[in-house]
Each structure stands twice: as structure tokens, then as C-alpha cells.
């Protein structure tokens, strides 16, 4: 994918829209977005994407165009605040001049990095901001900045792509949880079968034995069951000795 340097040319947006989600991770998609922003928009020192991790409400920067930009993002997290966090929490675009007034720690570091203004566009999915596209500029807004629509277009496409990628990850996650559950259910059933045959008990009593062993050893029940199945299959009970009673 090659960047278009002309901000008037929005054909780069179609390259985002045609991304094959199944072949890209969320991180790949966000790197694409940040790359397109830095290649397309004028006067940028760098760009990044902040995401709001739920549950928990933690902020993270999965993708940044440079380590300096990542540091500037992270200076706003953990309750310290900043334009990127504000854009996510309010769901509205934030344009901030670096003046050292609102967020002294962040703004001092930003000024040192040559940043004159920050623009954070919320990535809205069904009305909720799941993240923000952060644009760190060397110029203050209003000083011959080109039309802002490329940035807005990029953010809205990023939100769609991010939302699709998150939905895909969710499905994958649910799929692997179910696969694990089915494997666990299988081995627990086998262990119950061994106990039923060995101890002449019912399936619920067999489960209780496994459950108590799990509690006693402080190990997952499926691991206890797997060990029992493993032992039974590698150390089969001895065949009754036909000469034993003679």
C-alpha cells in the first residue's frame, strides 16, 4: 500500500475500505491508519491511535508513528489527562494548542518534541468512542492548514475498520473459548467414566471426586481429569491372574 501525499486526494480511503479483515490483526489495521495519516496530512510530527480497553477502562496506544509520539500519548494516561483521553471520554473531537495551561506535564513534553497543536478525533462505534486518532502537528491550527476533511474521513474509516476488526477478534475469541470448553468437557467425561468403572459409582459422584481433588491440589479440574485419563491409559490395570486362586 503506497501513501498519497496529496491531501485533496482521498482515494487512500478506499484502500482502507477494501482491507481484508480476515488477513489482518487489529494492530495491522491501526498501523495502516497511522501510516496513512502521517503520509497524507501536512505538518504532522506524528500520529497514533489510542484505545480505551473495556472492561477496566484502561487507555493504551497500540500504534504510534514514533516512540516520541507513543510517550506523548502515555503521558496522558493513568488519570493525568490530555486531548487524546478527552476525545475518547467525551466522544467529541478535541483541538488543543500547546500552551502549557491545561495539562502542564503533557504539554511541556509536547512542546519539547516540537508539537504546536494536537488534534484528537474520536473513533466512534455505534455512538461510543472506542479510541481516538491523534494527530500531533508542528503548526498551530488556522495557520494555513489544509481542509480538515481528510483527517475526519480517515478517523471514520478507522472506526469502521477497528469496529470490524474488534468484532472479528471477538468471534475468534468466542470460538477458541468454545473449542477449549469442548476439549475440557471431553476429558472430564472420560475421567468420570474411568471412576465410574473403577469405583462403581454414578457420574455425579465421579464428578465430586474430581472436584474435591481439584480443590485439594488447587489445580484445574480438567488438568486433574487429563492426568487421570493419562494414567489409566498408560498404566492399564493388570489382567486378573488366572493362576491367582489356584
Amino acid at each position: 500500500l503506497t501513501g498519497k501525499s496529496d491531501p485533496e486526494d482521498q482515494s487512500f480511503l478506499s484502500s482502507l475500505a477494501s482491507v481484508a479483515y480476515s488477513q489482518l490483526t487489529v494492530t495491522d489495521v491501526l498501523e495502516l491508519v497511522v501510516g496513512l495519516a502521517t503520509q497524507t496530512l501536512d505538518d504532522l510530527i506524528g500520529a497514533s491511535v489510542s484505545v480505551h480497553i473495556q472492561p477496566g477502562g484502561r487507555f493504551e496506544t497500540p500504534t504510534a508513528s514514533s516512540p516520541v509520539v507513543r510517550e506523548l500519548d502515555e503521558l496522558q494516561y493513568g488519570g493525568r489527562g490530555g486531548p487524546c483521553v478527552d476525545a475518547i471520554l467525551t466522544g467529541s473531537e478535541v483541538r488543543a494548542l500547546i500552551s502549557g495551561v491545561r495539562y502542564p506535564e503533557f504539554e511541556a513534553a509536547a512542546a519539547q518534541a516540537g508539537v504546536a497543536s494536537v488534534r484528537s478525533l474520536p473513533l466512534l462505534v455505534e455512538g461510543n468512542a472506542v479510541g481516538a486518532l491523534n494527530l500531533y502537528s508542528a503548526k498551530a491550527p488556522g495557520l494555513g492548514q489544509p481542509d480538515s476533511s481528510p483527517a475526519e474521513g480517515l478517523a471514520s474509516y478507522a472506526a469502521i475498520v477497528l469496529s470490524n476488526a474488534m468484532a472479528w477478534d471477538k468471534v475468534q475469541d468466542a470460538n477458541s473459548r468454545l473449542t477449549r470448553a469442548l476439549a475440557s468437557r471431553g476429558v472430564i467425561g472420560q475421567a468420570q467414566g474411568i471412576l465410574i468403572a473403577r469405583e462403581h459409582i454414578g457420574p455425579d459422584e465421579a464428578f465430586d471426586i474430581l472436584r474435591r481433588a481439584s480443590q485439594r491440589m488447587n489445580r484445574k479440574l480438567r488438568d486433574v481429569a487429563a492426568e487421570l485419563v493419562d494414567q489409566a491409559s498408560t498404566h492399564p490395570p493388570r489382567e486378573p491372574d488366572p493362576d491367582a486362586n489356584r
Binding site: P55, G56, A174, R177, L178, R180, A181, L182, A183, S184, R185, I188, G189, Q192, D204, F207, D208, R211, S214, Q215, N218, K220, L221, R222
Partner: protein, 74 residues
């Protein structure tokens, strides 16, 4: 449940993985409401919860059916 902060459908999948057979709606009704569960299902759910606590280095804080007086419908 609040302490664990996990979605009910995740808990239900874990319960199914432990041999549970009741649908998600019945487990949700028990967790959020005051309906009772048969001992076999209660214990599988308790085990699912305890295994989540185990991941946080907490040793089986959730009581099993034979450790607690509770209304059961079996």
C-alpha cells in the same frame, strides 16, 4: 460476581466445559436472580467460578453445594 467482572456468557462456556448442560438463560437467572439450581449444576458453576479465582491465585473461595446451606430444587 462483581469482583470477577466477567461476562455471563464466558462463565456459561466454562460451566459447559465442566460438563454443565443447562442453557445460558437458566445460568443467568441463577446468577442475577434468585432461582435455584440442582446440586450438579450448582457445583459445576461453583467450580467454573473457583477456577477463575484460581487464575488470580485465590484458592477456591466459592462454596460448593455440600459446604453451604442453600435452597436447592433437587
Amino acid at each position: 460476581m462483581g469482583m470477577l467482572d466477567i461476562p455471563i456468557d464466558h462463565l456459561w462456556v466454562d460451566y459447559i466445559g465442566l460438563g454443565g448442560e443447562l442453557p445460558l438463560a437458566e445460568i443467568a437467572e441463577f446468577v442475577y436472580g434468585d432461582s435455584a439450581l440442582p446440586d450438579r449444576d450448582y457445583d459445576r458453576l461453583a467450580q467454573a467460578l473457583n477456577e477463575l479465582f484460581m487464575d488470580r491465585d485465590e484458592d477456591h473461595p466459592f462454596p460448593y453445594a455440600d459446604e453451604v446451606d442453600r435452597p436447592a430444587d433437587t
